[in-house]
Homo-oligomer: 517 residues x 2
């Protein structure tokens, strides 16, 4: 199977149907297919060869969707960049994957030019023209080329590299295949199906697999992609009303923000039939409000990670009960989707008994090909086909998975993963900092908030503002600490000399149900 | 992915749910899992090693389903035998695939013993005991063994060899993989989904992939398998009423037989939600009657063949319209399912224009691994990943596939190609015609002549002149039947419910060189 074929089939079967809506611009599947095949020719004409990486740094847009397909059509590999990254983080990823070309929109044109030295030969301007000096205009490329034949890269071949934050301080390139991505959608759709002709709202960032998976899935369904630049409650509410959105993917934080907006402004969200969410469970209170907001929607929680293409388990609508004995399942991440195996293992990868906490391991066609240019880390992460998720959890006797905590020390803030190690590495480079530790603490808006413990060097000190400013130069803004505890005592250590984060977390989580692992 | 995991997941998620119903015997998924893992140990104890073939010759039964899973669990390969074959045909297949073991039920115990010399070391008696002398009793094996660990054969590995009739006179062993079978179900289910907790009636033979695919699919859905020994209208009607059957697979011939039975005896078939049929399109007349019989069913036509695991295209319920311009689609086989590519090619495998007749070629994850021990035929059948189906058809501009006839079965009369399906479709619409079949017979003037077999409805009749006049109003004159055989007995059917044209041709071609395949 291959990504480009999903578009070809949609264009053959429903060529006149609206494929993309972006602002006032709509394009049919026949249009998009033609543009994709011509853009692919343009990319090849600029020197991209089959197997080359092509990076994209852009806000959501219809051209972003086209870029995913055109890059595959040309036989190349997409590398979507996180739009919130710092220049240094982009530079690292580009030097790691060495893309031949870089595609940027208006918002990232200046950044793209600064990044030129880090790899790409040329930059394509993926926006309404004219292109800034030195950049190649995408519409000119599309207009200048005939449709080329699809390269038909398919099956187990590498399709996309998604960079994800790493515990070691650097992001890693997760390599996903055509088959892995497509089978994951087919299997997920069996448990939580889209209705006919979905009209899907892309408000989460397209560089994230949570949204990119819907680019593939909704194309398989020959549905309509309604694209907005990013998540904003007012924009989402308006898009739902004006476009008759039937399906969307959100994280609970976004549902909470929507709820706050709708309470104040009102909204008719009755067109939504399917609402998928992930990154964290939904609380009973928020689910109640969400069910009021989306009276006709079937709710579905998905658990997974980029390394899993991305879904491992699904909690479908029928288990979203707020009362009765089955209400306990609302805190679970559901059960493995068809073809995917989930088990809980000890550090030696041996299965633990039902109900015992261990690391969640996953095997199946959705497991990534590996980390780009990192065979050592790949070998540590995939053992005999089982992917170590780094998440801790347990499974009940009916196969429901309950996530307890992140083994790898990840903070999930507003749906974004923040790896403590990255923030700690940044903080530790401030000259006044002797030692530091970063944890997630409960936050009413973001689910978790990045909180830092800092101990200054003898005689030195810095304001919180200084520390934040320091971090923001090194890491994305959403990763920076939002609150601090300044300590004069050493941080508590385990026998092995590791900081006992459990101890640090306890006071913050005392009144919350979450384990402090 | 692997077949055994579908059973493991059903047992984990729905261990207490009824998995199989056979006569008065019901077993839960937990029971079936336990029996399968112990039977696998028993098979291994009798000398079967991973990679060995294990043949099965039996009528439908709950143990047949268990055998499919147990053979895979033991790391071996299932070879289901056609129960309508002659001893010589069985002997050919067994010598071709050299199974280590042969599993037979009561009906085939004697045949099994006669076949001993053709390969298997031992025979297992897959029926209620005691086993005849010399055969090993399956229940004794299950009782004597503990559950063994699943061998976890999976992915691209060979899972089942299905022998299919060949136009060259010998059957061929079609090799199908775990992934091919499972992905085919996931993709088909996206277009024509089963509802929650299907209760499926296995009345077509389990040795045929049309039914075996449902063994896999319904297990993925953790549905209930209701199994009857074979197709019989009275048995089917009773099973639907007593077991609340929600889903079944039939061929139009069987739907016609059911209709005749229900007209005479009456029946409430309202529990059926999904009715899938294949092997040939359904006529408007029969569809009308079927919609009356199954008032709550969604109809779905599937086209494919064993070599395609087995489905390539689906005509879903929404295209089953009997009036209006879209009624023409009722004669089509629908469109390619996700991940599967269908094209019409000329003899050099080049695509032909939209609307032109050519050979149907298919590419995708469902294409067989090849023919067992027949690399030459495999190389002729799969060209650059495209499987030549041997069927002729054309595709319209929206991707709807219309099957014209078997390429190898075309009647060449006076230099004109006559596709028998067209003639049969015309004849079948005459009100007196219950069933019919059209073949080419030798003709001194035209080379071949169009000859029709006709069986009239109870109490009805028509002259040859009337039938010819009727056909000439619907199809070109050269295509009309030139001669007739009026039958009072049913036409001979294959195990898959297809009319055995080979049998019909034999007497006409006895003194001629042409193959009657």
């Amino acid at each position: 199977m291959r990504l480009t074929h999903t578009l070809q089939a949609a264009a053959l079967h429903h060529g006149g149907r609206i494929a993309t809506v972006y602002g006032a611009r709509t394009r049919t599947y026949a249009d998009v297919l033609s543009r994709v095949a011509r853009l692919a020719a343009g990319l090849r004409g600029m020197g991209a060869e089959p197997g080359d990486r092509i990076a994209v740094i852009a806000l959501n847009g219809d051209r972003y969707l086209e870029a995913y397909f055109a890059i595959a059509w040309a036989g190349c590999i997409s590398v979507p960049g996180n739009t919130r990254w710092s220049e240094a983080e982009h530079a690292f990823a580009l030097e790691n994957c060495e893309p031949r070309l870089l595609l940027v929109d208006r918002a990232f044109a200046a950044l793209g030019q600064k990044l030129m030295s880090h790899a790409p030969d040329r930059i394509v301007y993926l926006d309404d023209g004219p292109a800034p000096a030195g950049l190649h205009d995408v519409e000119t490329m599309i207009a200048a080329n005939d449709m080329m034949a699809d390269c038909c890269t398919s099956g187990d071949a590498l399709a996309v590299i998604f960079y994800t934050g790493g515990t070691t301080g650097h992001s890693k390139g997760v390599m996903l295949s055509h088959d892995g991505l497509i089978v994951n959608f087919l299997a997920m759709n069996l448990v939580a199906p889209y209705g006919p002709h979905p009209v899907f709202l892309h408000s989460p960032p397209m560089f994230h697999l949570a949204d990119a998976a819907a680019i593939i899935g909704i194309t398989i369904m020959a549905g309509t992609h309604v694209i907005v630049p990013g998540f904003d409650p007012a924009v989402v509410v308006r898009a739902i009303r004006e476009q008759g959105i039937t399906a969307l993917v959100l994280v609970p934080t976004m549902i909470g923000m929507l709820d706050a907006y709708v309470r104040e402004n009102g909204a008719d969200l009755g067109s939504v039939r399917e609402l998928k969410y992930g990154a964290s469970p939904i609380s009973v209170a928020l689910l109640h409000r969400a069910l009021e907001m989306f009276p006709n929607a079937r709710f579905c929680q998905a658990y997974g990670q980029t390394e899993l293409s991305p879904v491992a388990t699904i909690l479908p609508h029928e288990w979203h009960k707020t009362t009765g004995p089955e209400a306990r399942l609302l805190r679970s991440a559901g059960r493995a989707i068809p073809g995917v195996e989930v088990r809980i293992v000890d550090p030696d990868m041996n299965p633990v008994p039902v109900g015992s906490v261990g690391e969640i391991a996953v095997r199946g066609p959705n497991v990534m090909l590996g980390y780009w240019k990192n065979p050592d880390l790949t070998a540590k992460t995939i053992i005999d086909g089982w992917l170590r998720t780094g998440d801790a959890g347990y499974m009940d006797e009916q196969g429901f998975l309950f996530i307890v905590d992140r083994v790898k020390d990840v903070i999930v803030s507003g749906g974004e993963n923040v790896y403590s190690a990255e923030v700690e590495n940044a903080l530790a480079q401030h000259p006044t900092v002797l030692e530091c530790a970063v944890i997630g603490v409960p936050d009413p808006k973001w689910g978790e908030r990045v909180h830092a413990f800092v101990r200054f060097r003898e005689g030195a000190t810095a304001s919180e503002e200084e520390l934040i400013f320091h971090c923001e130069r090194m890491i994305a803004s959403y990763k920076r600490p939002r609150s601090f505890t300044i300590r004069t005592d050493p941080l508590p250590l385990s026998g092995a000399g590791k900081i006992l984060k459990m101890e640090l977390r306890k006071p913050f989580w005392a009144d919350h149900g979450r384990s402090v692992g």
